[in-house]
Point group: C2
Chain length 269, copies 2
């Protein structure tokens, strides 16, 4: 079906999910909604995040998407699976696929979860993992600093990023956990530094990547993938302003065509 | 680790799980707890089932098991994942593995769930499936009659079973669902009749089998599988009386050594 796939995130984080889609299926058109006006979602209340996420999903549906990936762990924790009662197109979240990926990769059933406060407080990863195996040890580390680092573009300075990662992860330098869950879609952007900090010795789970794997299989089964073979131009809808967005997009997914449009939800509704 | 794996169920249903374990890993000893005194769990309140399940798990732990499989969907729905806060050995339930197996097998994302009222009311399968894909259609069919049929041994009469299955499933004879979830561990015992009713045209998911697959992989990773290679004698603890239990055991898993012990929880505690 030649309609776009919607991706929503609070900011640039979902670009890590968009990258996976555009690489795996270059003929899929993506409509991306970035809620820059209300970013970051991490410290906000569950109720607020739920409301923002619904608005974003509805915006994308009104634009004609055939499915939505909630490329934000905080938003997934707030609305899944309840959202499905209100929406009649497929919606995919990042947490359960991420939980399952971690459970599969870990050899010693001990994990370090890096996420926002909102995601950690929701307990959604713990529920996802412990409902398969009650005896898994999960260390929760809220890393709101990483979201700020990435949204501000400071991450482009390797020295700053290396230091931020080292400062934050220092208490876990010698953790027995063999698996690190990137439970925020922003974090794959600094994954090389996290990997370097642990000397390449941890399994690193990118929840966004796991979600795209699930979503693409399911969309294929629903015969919802695009039939044409041209490479589309994607559309990026930025709620509010974000003059840094394009820079991250260009460095993160340098090889795509896109058009950025600034939108304001209050006016468009 | 040469300690037994515990299995608990309200009655004979968990024998379908025991069969998978004894076939997959013949060197594993199984301690089976059948709560015949309080069977069936399906129509009971969530609170009661929670209490019974906790007692059963504690009984098995006191007997020295290294892990417990809750081979009962109703019990899984009532205690997972909350139980893990109170228990420090691995506990595995049947619902999430079953949900995931169904999601993988179904080609058209439409499923028929056969289970007890308790399991269906809990919504646990829907949560498990819809948290991976919001757009899956699940038809819920409570089948308490099947539990009675199997516990009473009437299922050994093919004519009775064929008729019971046909009567119950008649409204779904032409369902678009391509996948049938056996969301009660009793049901694999009559799976051939369910398969026959649908002319072999449905994927049939045995949640117990899926759970054993998950549990064995996880126990292997935890280095908790047995090291010895002898075939053990299993122990069956029947809470209350069940003079039909042994007959189902012998017809369902004819090739194992076992000892049945009748126990009474009030006295043993």
């Amino acid at each position: 079906m030649n309609r776009p796939i919607g991706i929503m995130d609070s900011g640039v984080g979902g670009l890590t999910v968009m990258k996976e889609i555009t690489h795996a299926l270059p003929s899929e058109e993506v409509y991306y909604f970035a809620d820059s006006m209300r970013c970051p979602y991490g410290p906000k209340s569950q109720e607020d995040v739920k409301q923002y996420t619904k608005e974003a999903v509805q915006f994308l549906i009104d634009k004609g998407v055939k499915a939505v990936i909630i490329a934000c762990n905080t938003a997934t924790a707030a609305v899944m699976p309840a959202l499905r009662d209100e929406i009649d197109i497929p919606v995919y979240g990042v947490i359960n696929p991420g939980s399952l990926g971690a459970l599969r990769k870990s050899d010693n059933n001990e994990m370090l979860l890096l996420a926002t406060e909102g995601t950690i407080k929701s307990g959604a990863y713990e529920r996802g993992i412990l409902s398969f195996d009650s005896d898994v040890k999960i260390h929760n580390l809220p890393c709101p600093e990483f979201v700020d680092l990435i949204e501000s573009l400071d991450f482009e300075n390797s020295d700053i990023t290396r230091k931020a990662v080292a400062d934050k992860l220092a208490p876990y330098k010698n953790t027995a956990a063999d698996t690190v869950i990137l439970g925020c879609t922003h974090f794959p952007i600094i994954e090389p530094f996290i990997d370097e900090f642990f000397n390449g010795r941890k399994h690193i789970i990118d929840a966004g990547f796991e979600a795209v794997s699930v979503a693409l299989v399911q969309l294929h089964k629903k015969q919802l993938l695009s039939a044409h073979d041209k490479t589309p131009a994607h559309r990026i809808f930025i709620h509010g302003d974000n003059n840094r967005f394009e820079k991250v997009l260009n460095s993160w997914i340098p090889d795509i065509d896109y058009k950025i449009e600034n939108i304001y939800l209050q006016e468009s509704y």
